[in-house]
Amino acid sequence: MSRTKSPPEPAAAPGWDYAPAPETAPVEIASRYGHFIAGEFVPAADGAEFATINPATEEELSRVARGGAEDVERAVAAARRALPRWSRLPGRERAKYLFRIARRLQERARELAVLETLDGGKPIRESRDVDVPEAARHFFYHAGWADKLEFAFPGRRPKPVGVCGQIIPWNFPLLMAAWKLAPALACGNTVVLKPAETTPLTALRLAEILQECELPPGVVNIVTGDGETGAALAAHRGVRKIAFTGSTEVGKKLAAAVAGSRRRLTLELGGKSANIVCEDASLDQAVEGVIDAIFFNQGHVCCAGSRLLVQESILEEFLEKLDWRLRSLRVGDPLDKNTDVGAINSRAQLDRIRTYLRIGLEEGGRLHECHDQPLPAKGFWCRPCYFTNVQPADTLAREEVFGPVLAVMSFRTPEEAIARANNTPYGLAAGIWSDKGSRIFALAARLQAGVVWCNTYNRFDASSPFGGYKESGFGREGGRQGLRPYLELER
């Protein structure tokens, strides 16, 4: 574990540090949760359940029903029963429900943020400033579309697809539920949602909010469980459309499962997104952008800027700045309002990240940790870090780590930057950092990625379509384009 040279450490000053500032809003968590089917919480048909833990402390938070084929059957049946009335409801009436849900999310924002952080390990700063407000934003945005679908697709008569099966990941549990539910409901579909195994609590809290908002029973059903639960949902013939966000590996299985069945599928999968820093960039701001790109949510972000391509003429200076910045990152208690990087979501994910760190070293990479503050004794933690001496053929340059691990490479010419950036099976996102507009446009046009951020990174909005190229998936979420997968467009 080596460190690159950095500015000399300044002499010790009368040190001033932030006192612990834990978010203290109380959140009630029941000792067990059932599935949410037809507007009611019900235990698993076979009584199976599993624990969900706080990854920052490894303490059990609650026990949650493990969905089997019979639970999926009941949920899909409830969604089918609810479909005729919901889909015939005028758009302006559906909009009212969505609007009410959005308002209720805002009103209960603090509680939801704490719960998200407890269950998933992400810093409260992010759940408070990003996850929860963006989730509300998605419901607000789609409330606006519900009665305007004919204007979104002129000359067509938009009709709902039917019952949608939605399988969401553990990195943005509530936000991904909102990304999936809001457009589906706005378009008149009913839904069976399967939250991720490690992070079911905020989706279940959302179910309580749906009850408060008096959403008709069966319009949204939530079945908790693991990969088998998801597979049962995807295999169910009553589900007309499957929307999945998660790993490319599972996405390929889902594609095989729906093949030949005329059922619809959208996939939002992994990525190995390139962040390209040109020599004329505003370097201090680019460093911030690179930090945001890879360390946001501990790197558990499908579009994380996990490959950094820096122009050779500024590589040394850039890495010095990156080292310096890494040292000021605050890693630790996710509930502390000053924490920048929280806990790794699960033991399994931490093991996966560690495997990649080992492979990275074995293949000749140089690991730079820089950050040297102590980590908590309990819980799942990984220091933010980056690798140099990574070649395009190396594992760290090709495979998605889904953790706070950045692979740094360099380039000399724009041609080389494009060639290296596009040399990946994925194509979800990319970033360009340059002070020169013409250079930005020339590069952006040639990047094979669903989203290209210029002089910024990881910016999202409900009105902006998001989705991938190549093995990063197909279909878009957000914007007018995000409505399309949830509609049959009759002539």
Binding site: P7, P8, P10, A11, A12, A13, P14, G15, W16, D17, Y18, A19, A21, R125, D129, D280, A281, S282, L283, D284, Q285, E288, G289, E320, W324, S328, K337, N338, D435, N455, T456
Partner: protein, 296 residues
């Protein structure tokens, strides 16, 4: 000197970063320590046409004991006055750790011949100023005559004869963060001991964004040369809450080494009593009425 390298600065990203650092949560012991530190970093300033000897005496007394009867509240870093009042301030502060700072060089416009500005600096230093706050010629700078600006700063530095030189960039007149960065780099190259945002006579004065640009300029110079230069935001900083935001900017941009009055100052007047008020609130659990705090 050769052509100055223009460093690109992304204004949107700077403002976003500065705003984000304003959301750090500073509570309890951290807040108390920060309030004391901010007091010790204050350049207690009066720069009005109506300044009188009596007013400067009051200021000096306040500078030494910001909270009457509580010796745990430190004295401020310096008292900052016009050159005519330097001798008086020197007398009042003789034998104390509080330094005397004087604005000079035809503050705030800088619009007199260089010969006169240098004379003003020499006179203030002769009268006992420890620190000189000069203004740059914004006219020359905006006309692109950077070499001349550099030469003027270097000449003032020489006239200071060992007194610390703070270079006021008057960022509110420079038009862009890139110009702020360029002016700061220029001042550092010409020998500034501090770069300072504003005179307080022009709006906008100090902002978190513009201060972040100065901190980054100082950080790059330190990385290149090993030389540590101070930063002084001035003008418009009135509340303890604002001051804490600046301390967070310093800590997370330059590190703890810069969290000292030797390398960071606030140019302010009404700020001091708000810092004291917040300290009293931490101590007593309630706010103090304004009439219970001595005027500066």
């Amino acid at each position: 000197m050769g052509a100055m390298h223009r460093v690109p600065v992304d204004q949107v990203a700077v403002d976003a970063r500065a705003a984000r650092l304003g959301r750090r949560s500073i509570k309890r012991s951290a807040k108390e320590a920060a309030l004391r530190l901010a007091v010790a970093m204050t350049d207690l300033t009066t720069l009005e046409g109506q300044d009188s000897p009596e007013r400067v005496r009051a200021l000096c007394r306040k500078a030494l004991r910001p909270l009457e009867g509580d010796p745990t509240v430190p004295s401020v870093a310096a008292v900052c006055v016009y050159p005519r009042l330097v001798a008086l301030a020197r007398e009042e502060l003789a034998g104390t750790p509080v330094r005397v700072a004087s604005v000079a060089t035809a503050f705030p416009s800088g619009q007199t011949p260089l010969r006169l500005r240098l004379e003003e600096v020499r006179s203030a230093v002769e009268d006992g100023a420890d620190e000189i706050d000069m203004v740059i010629s914004r006219g020359l700078f905006l006309a692109g005559r950077l070499d001349e600006v550099h030469q003027e700063i270097a000449a003032v530095k020489e006239a200071c004869e060992g007194a610390h030189l703070k270079v006021i960039l008057e960022t509110g007149e420079l038009g862009s963060y890139e110009n702020v960065r360029l002016a700061s780099d220029l001042a550092l190259a010409a020998g500034a001991d501090f770069v300072k945002t504003s005179t307080g006579k022009v709006q906008p004065a100090a902002t978190p964004g513009v201060t972040l640009v100065l901190l980054e300029s100082v950080r790059d110079a330190w990385r290149r040369t090993g030389r540590r230069v101070g930063v002084k935001p001035a003008g418009g900083i009135r509340t303890a809450r604002q001051a804490l935001h600046y301390l967070v900017l310093v800590k997370e941009t330059l590190g703890d080494a810069w969290l000292t009055p030797e390398l960071f100052r606030f140019g302010a007047s009404s700020l001091l009593n708000d810092l004291v008020r917040q300290l009293l609130r931490l101590r007593d659990g309630c706010y103090t009425a304004a009439h219970d705090l001595s005027l500066a």
